[in-house]
Symmetry: C2
Subunit: 493 residues, 2 copies
């Protein structure tokens, strides 16, 4: 890493820089037509639109390196982008003259699968579902499961340290990564693509890039830790009397289902309403009305009698009067139907238009109190809004979303949602929680993140950025405030 | 972090510095009597003795900070030390005038245990076994298990990213850490003691210190991720026809026992000999003679029929002709007896006197080839030595030790063991393996580590060191060569 020198002579105009990139790398690699660029310059929900000079589509790691060097020489900032499914504007370019998007979409090769070693090496642009489709042929699983799996790319999953529904069993993305290949901000390629399960050789450099959201380098390849693909599973949808009972049930499930518990989701009663709004043909399960539901998955390979285990667990839960009603799926189709509630709930919220999405976390023992207090406070201060609390409560991760009343002007709506966010952040602070459990910081939560970190934490983060990216050319404005973060952004919707 | 300035005027003499420390912190905190200091200045095996000006024993984090500041002001280097059970000289002081040992042994308080959250916060000086004794009262487990658990401290476990026998189920220490408290090389306290399971707030700073062996700061506290303490287990000791069969059995066990497989250890036939040498009363299991044995543990909580699962697995293994004989423990006492082979094997080797201990790793599919090739090559080039290969082969982690013939002069013995190490490192390189799976680098493997890292890797490691410890005062010479690593070291034994 060498510090860049600020050249004092006149910089070439953006048009000339762009023409130079096209001439060197060709129009297949360098997109500059606004129509071609639009989908890379919008966030996933279509709420926000940014702007860039060009979109770069390298074909391999070597070309990523050459492009990064060319951008550094021209003083262009690079915004790395995976499947553009992020929720915190971490991949949004914000400067029509000074930012380029670099997408890994053409780098989608599964390099190797080593079934006996439970490992694989993939290009960072591989789509998560495509990786698991290839692994399934060898009865293997990369156990990251999230709503965007059909569109998100593994490089983006790693850069954001994605979570999802299986974290309580398999951990965050960080825990599933054996090695990385990274193009550093100066264009150097760092090859850390080891597939060794145990390799304690000094400071673990790959950890710097996991969760950095592309602000310290571009992940171009990854070595993945795999597990045997479960051959059988059981899915239950349970009605409970209170949030306290949901968390008591979780504590019981963690012990009774041991390390075979794969998912434990809180679903509020509104979840069934949203699922119906998302799909008129949706048939809700025949289950008692209740203030809270739990959606639970267990899964295994080998000669374990999962059904007996789940039935024994449910019997204990009934005996302790934790569960008032429940459905245990009798087939894979029924299990998929139960999971449709979880997925339809998200789609139904999206159909209600722009709303506040949060990604909060507290300790599991704080979940019930946190949700109750949040909804009470929102009800008192924003009585026209509809709060919806759901999520991966076994990890203490709650998506407490707030849907504004219909028909508001955009400015009034935005002000209301900003107030809702402020209310929720204050409640989460009182519970010692975190403002980003699994989505990351990006640009959207940068201010809230800055307001919560200590001076020593700030110094360390700034020091790392300075060490790896002294010219601040790699995703400037993501996670850390930067003068290079532009203003070419507009709110849509 | 501020860079220290090299003062040009004369430094105080070591005696004066020592007197100043004693005056400021008292003789309970600052040991300087050689007899009191000796055990902190020797490695665990008693093979090597180093030297220090003093041993510092702070009572709390604040005092660690003050001591570090005082040492920095005096230009003294600090060598952090846990239970001093490390195997790579990572905690060995090497300069009688310029190094102090800082031991966390007085910081052994369990700060909090949150049973419902499966988390605990502990002082870094807590002994691993003491933590698990306290957790067991609440049916909880911190699933790190290694031979030194009765002496090693959690801070050292984290600093070395310790492995052990349960890694295949629960991961390395890194994966069990939720948060850290660290005193940085300039004395600043970084409080990252979050117990949140999901907290994606930017670059994960704690990862810098896990595996850094105290070279970037001193871990003073840790938030631990816990699991339910298994209520039942099964232990099997199986005789196999070949190393290839051992690894085929592992692949089968990984699927048939799913995520309930806790340990899968390779035991060579010599293991039974060593166990007998370690304990004359040891009664070996009644099992066929074989070229390789596997020691397997499964464990669970909840209503899972573990015995049925293991019996079904063993039946499949027998049907596939993988296992020629076996013992399935009928009681906890019998299970402990089987594990005594594993433990006695280590003690028996120690009784043979100084020998080469290695900690190599390859992909699981390479294990059999790697061991076979290594033993062949050692046999050809060092026919008088006894190689012993065992370890956590489910993770590809092999301890391939080499015992020299009796009665050699020290110089001849050391030369022979050096040659053995060189041979083994060359074989591990050919198999794309690692020279330190779980023990770390320390001072012992520094040269071998340096010889294997790329220039870009070197630049990144040096950059991190420069960022956090610009004056090179924190464990100099550990992991990275340093002019501050002294020469006050002698080989014993």
């Amino acid at each position: 890493m060498t510090a860049s020198t600020n050249k004092m002579h006149a910089k070439p105009a953006p048009d000339a820089i762009l023409a130079g990139l096209v001439a060197e790398f060709g129009p297949k690699t360098v997109l500059s037509d606004p129509a071609d660029m639009q989908r890379y310059c919008r966030d996933w929900h279509g709420d926000v639109e940014g702007s860039a000079l060009a979109v770069l589509r390298p074909a391999d790691t070597e070309e990523v390196s050459r492009l990064v060097r060319a951008c550094a020489a021209a003083g262009l900032a690079v915004v790395p982008q995976g499947g553009n499914t992020g929720l915190v504007l971490g991949g949004l370019p914000t400067d029509a003259a000074g930012h380029v998007v670099l997408t890994l979409e053409r780098m989608n090769r599964i390099r190797t699968i080593a079934a006996d070693d439970f490992s694989a090496v993939v290009d960072a642009g591989c789509i998560l579902a495509a990786i698991n489709a290839a692994l399934a042929e060898q009865d293997l699983l990369f156990p990251l499961s999230l709503a965007a799996e059909g569109s998100c790319q593994i490089g983006g999953n790693i850069a954001t340290n994605a979570g999802g529904i299986n974290v309580l069993r398999y951990g965050m993305t960080r825990e599933m990564i054996l090695g990385l290949e990274v193009v550093l901000p100066d264009g150097t390629i760092w090859n850390g693509l080891s597939t060794l399960r145990k390799n304690n050789s000094g400071v673990d450099l790959k950890q710097l890039f996991i969760g950095a959201e592309g602000s310290l380098g571009i992940i171009t390849g990854a070595a993945l830790r795999l597990v045997p693909k479960p051959t059988r599973g059981e899915t239950a949808f349970l009605a409970l009397r209170s949030l306290d009972d949901v968390m008591a049930l979780y504590a019981l499930a963690r012990r009774e289902c041991c390390d075979l518990l794969s998912a434990f989701e809180l679903v509020p009663p509104e979840g069934l309403t949203f699922a119906k709004e998302a799909d008129a043909d949706f048939v809700p399960p025949q289950i008692a009305d209740a203030p809270a539901y739990a959606l639970i998955d267990v899964a295994a390979t080998g000669p374990i009698d999962l059904r007996a285990m789940v039935e024994a667990f449910l019997e204990t839960a009934m005996t302790r009067d934790l569960v008032i009603d429940g459905v245990l799926a009798a087939s894979e189709r029924q299990a998929a139907g139960l999971w449709q509630i979880r997925e339809g709930m998200i789609e139904g919220q999206a159909l209600r238009g722009p709303h506040l999405r949060t990604d909060l976390s507290v300790s599991p023992s704080q979940v019930a109190g946190f949700i109750t207090e949040s909804i009470e406070e929102l009800g008192r201060r924003l009585p026209d809004c509809l709060p919806v609390a759901y999520g991966h409560v076994g990890d203490g991760n709650i998506h407490l979303n707030v849907i504004p009343p219909r028909g508001l002007e955009r400015a009034a709506r935005d002000a209301m949602l900003y107030e809702a966010k402020t209310i929720l952040n204050a409640v989460v602070d009182r519970h010692g929680g975190g403002i980003s459990a699994e989505h990351g910081i990006g640009r959207l939560k940068r201010g809230d993140f800055e307001a919560r970190r200590s001076p020593v934490h700030e110094t360390l983060l700034r020091g790392l950025k300075q060490l790896l990216d002294p010219a601040d050319l790699m995703n400037p404005g993501c996670q850390l405030t930067s003068p290079r973060d532009g203003a070419d952004v507009r709110s849509l919707g």
